[in-house]
Symmetry: C2
Subunit: 337 residues, 2 copies
């Protein structure tokens, strides 16, 4: 059945300098091969659109290989098996994997895992039950280690990771303050997701004063998704022995003329605080623990999630660029077909 199929594909046409543009991406059409022994053909349903992918578009040394020029961009994908020569997977099954930005992928069955759309919506496996939920879980609990009564500040709080961080911190009994970039986002955080306070960094006249007011007991954990001037302001309010999981620096990813700000050393010494960068794969051996906890909290109604879904494969670059303009609330996905 796959002989007549063609797949659309998005490749990295050039490496972005500063903010990515449409010109960095190129569309192709490729024939979809017959699956070999042990392989499946997966029709994409949801593509996960994530800020970390910006890093892979540069060729600087990092924790994962850069995307190759003129090679397909790879990310989280939820799809449906449409052909299978693999035991245990049959057409109609839903699967999750790190696959190409393509409408169809032909991959070894070991590259995907089956997911159950009756337990949670398919898209949830890319957000609350997926990479972003797990990133929040491990970064917050392993590095941040919030205790009941402590104050946790989250930047990028209305993003897919940020809103999970805040809710998990609330489950752990912390006071949670979110930072986001629109009044709709801050209202979502406080009115729907249970944050104790939220600050719109784009409209607040004095970020540090607003933070100080929202954090009368100082900051014990700062989950940093953004870097830049927002983080500079949070750093001034650290309590002794504060912990800073450094998850993302979206404000810096597209900076080309030097990302400079106050040095952190003196503050770290004075407060004996810890900053640690991390990525989810650091916790590869604890995925089951994280996935179970998230699924339980979701089932118990303790975790809510939000998605921003753009329709159509042709809108993938637009959705990606939107991340850097703060257009998404919660997880940014593209729905295909």
């Amino acid at each position: 059945m796959t002989q007549q199929l063609t797949s659309k594909q998005i490749v990295l046409a050039s490496r972005p300098v500063g903010l990515p543009t449409d010109a960095n991406f190129a569309y192709r059409e490729i024939p979809v091969a017959e699956p070999g022994e042990g392989q499946v053909v997966v029709r994409s349903i949801y593509l996960s659109i994530d800020p970390y992918m910006r890093g892979r578009m540069s060729d600087a040394k990092s924790y994962i290989e850069p995307y190759g020029l003129n090679e397909v961009i790879v990310g989280g994908v939820v799809g449906e098996v449409v052909a299978s020569k693999a035991e245990g997977l049959k057409p109609g099954d839903h699967v999750l994997g790190m696959l190409g930005w393509q409408t169809y992928n032909v991959v070894d069955a070991s590259a995907v895992r089956r997911i159950d759309g009756t337990v949670a919506p398919l898209s949830a496996y890319l957000s609350v039950l997926g990479l972003t939920g797990l990133t929040a879980y491990f970064g917050l609990l392993d590095i941040g280690q919030p205790k009941a009564g402590e104050t946790v500040v989250v930047s990028g709080a209305a993003g897919a990771v940020g809103m999970m961080v805040g809710q998990i911190a609330k489950i752990r009994g912390a006071r949670v303050v979110g930072i986001a970039g629109t009044d709709e986002k801050t209202a979502l955080l406080t009115d729907k997701l249970g944050f104790d306070a939220a600050i719109n960094y784009k409209t607040v006249p004095d970020m540090r004063a607003a933070l100080a007011e929202a954090c009368p007991s100082g900051v014990d954990v700062y989950f940093d998704n953004v870097g830049g001037a927002i983080s500079d302001a949070v750093m001034t309010l650290l309590n002794d022995y504060a912990r800073i999981p450094v998850c993302g620096a979206i404000s810096s990813y597209n900076v080309t003329d030097g990302d400079t700000g106050p040095r952190v050393q003196t503050k770290l010494i004075k407060t004996r605080s810890l900053m640690k960068g991390f990525v989810l794969s650091d916790y590869a051996d604890r995925m089951q623990e994280g996935a179970s906890a998230l699924a339980q909290w979701l089932a118990a109604g303790q975790l809510k999630y939000e998605e921003t879904i753009v329709e159509g494969f042709e809108n993938v670059p637009k959705a990606f660029l939107g991340l850097f303009k703060g257009e998404n609330v919660g997880k940014q996905l593209v729905k295909i077909g």
Copy 2:
């Protein structure tokens, strides 16, 4: 016998703005009280002169209380008991404590501990066997955790803490690169203290290139005593999962117009590295472990130490100011009487 004694005393006359000057200090003479029950009178022999004291001269929030205006400055002191109303301490005993910058201190016996000048020179209890040795021990081994074959970079390497860090890292089998500010210091590090390489940051044309050459396998542990541009350069060479004990930021202590530089977040994420500020008192419950290890290494000839000794109580401010000009090699002490 103490009735006729007077003590010289140095008080904080004004808080320094930028580099401290003589005008920030004032001399007084005070009568030495008779020791009360459980007290001793200690004649100062060595005063410990340390960069962290600059922090206590400001009134910013920090891990220890600021020095009070017009109050005596307190630091590490080795002295001799000259009068005692305390059990277990008698005139002629040598003791160590956090005492005033005075020629005589009258204190509770619990504020000092007896030291043995036959095991090691008295001054060693303020350096290799004292606060600076212990600071190196805990910061390097608890936060830095160097493994055999890893590369450890130390800034302020010819300072009292730095030279202990490098030697302990060598004991642990690491490759050690020191950064210091004179050719005499770098020669000391490589020729006498066993460092694998040393860089004179004041004369090297390109700090980053010199570091890259000295660290062909990158940097696994960066023991940071200085902050500033030197640390900016080291940060560019971090390996994955690097550890950065942040012990001091002497380059920043006197900066009044903003200590700014490249933000660290992106590098921490890309390398999943850890930075942690610390002070020795964080390890209060492990002092015996550290002191034993240092004493054993010293006895075994595995630790060498250097001192810069200025004579005369009237030269205490000069010795302190010299820290910020890099005048000391190893531990800066003032010898009295």
